[in-house]
Symmetry: none
Subunit: 103 residues, 5 copies
């Protein structure tokens, strides 16, 4: 299962009927936004457990539910990893010794 | 589910019979082009929800439909993330200062 | 479904019996080589649609066929994206004026 | 199957009922944290085999169990690969050649 | 299917019973080590075809076998791609041409 952060609900008026009666949430999986079916009732900011693969179908309520990502639990406490620093930012160069040209 | 942008329809004259009666769309998943079965009737430029895994089959109409990616909804409003800047383009270098004074 | 390019047939003498009667093709998915079961009769150089996940089984002929990637269609016309340039080659700087006139 | 390292148990009070009676573990797959259902009884620090896809369901006990990642074995001895060095630190540049003639 | 290289057998004394009677092999998928169920009888150094997804179960012998990666064939001849060079070592710049004629 993935550990994701809930971003916000997603509105899709034109969608297939099988999909209609459940809330969809935009979730952040690492730095990628995905859409998950909400089976627990979460709110933006929650850290949640998302199940994928064929298990997402039954987790969303029935074997024929068309989900490949379903929120199945809210994590009580989660400390995300600190974001990785951008690729080797050249450390601030040492301040240039006395400013150019006698200034 | 993935959030993709519809690029254009895909024409494939020589394909397996099970596939034949549905529209195929080229979609952009991040920067990767994939092919999805269109179950909602979308047009190029639409931001859509694509379901993968085994759920893509039933979402396309039946348990035996050979899809692993099906468009199941059109997103009402979607603001894509700004593209990431290319790997640290060296910002315009500061105008060369006069060479360090006589150094 | 993935958009792949057919590279060449793959020969595997020692393989499981369930596999035996279909052609296997090496395909290029981006820059990664994979093996797909050929359900349409393609040749090296063709751009094809490959279906994965559980749908690859029925697409290959039966529910119990052990495929996770099956070629299900040949794309009529496909213009691959140009290969990405290596990380931001500093474009050739504009030729310094003087304008060609004086050359 | 994936080779993962067990990090710690995960507590999720609000989760779907189908999930409730098994231990969940945070595992490290490369540098990504995921959640797996524990079917063998492992402890933090163990190197384990995790099965995904639809096989994760039955491996967790039943066809309808909503898991897409299940710990199915503890590896007796595992020597992880050394971490990769950061991207190719530019080897010490060759000593600067004398500047092009008088420029 | 993936093209992998067999590294060595994997020993896991504490594993789920459903798993017990088949050999497990550590395989190299690109630069990532994974575990696959051996359905053909391969040895370290072999290049093999590995099937994933739900097809891995039946390929391993039965619909309920808990595998998500099964070795289904040994490739007769395989020439791996040469390893990629580290990220674009800046080729030695061409010797600076004499500045464009007198410009």
């Amino acid at each position: 299962m993935l550990i994701c952060k809930v971003v916000k609900p997603l509105v899709s008026t034109n969608r297939i009927p099988d999909f209609e009666h459940k809330h969809l949430q935009v979730v952040l999986d690492g730095s990628t936004k995905k859409v998950a079916v909400d089976a627990v009732g979460c709110v933006p900011g929650d850290w949640v457990i998302c199940v994928g693969s064929s298990a997402a179908r039954e987790a969303a309520g029935s074997k024929s539910y068309p989900s490949d990502l379903t929120i199945v639990g809210i994590i009580d406490h989660w400390e995300p990893d600190p974001p990785k620093p951008p690729a080797a930012p050249p450390a601030t160069p040492p301040a240039p010794a006395p400013a150019p040209g006698g200034a």
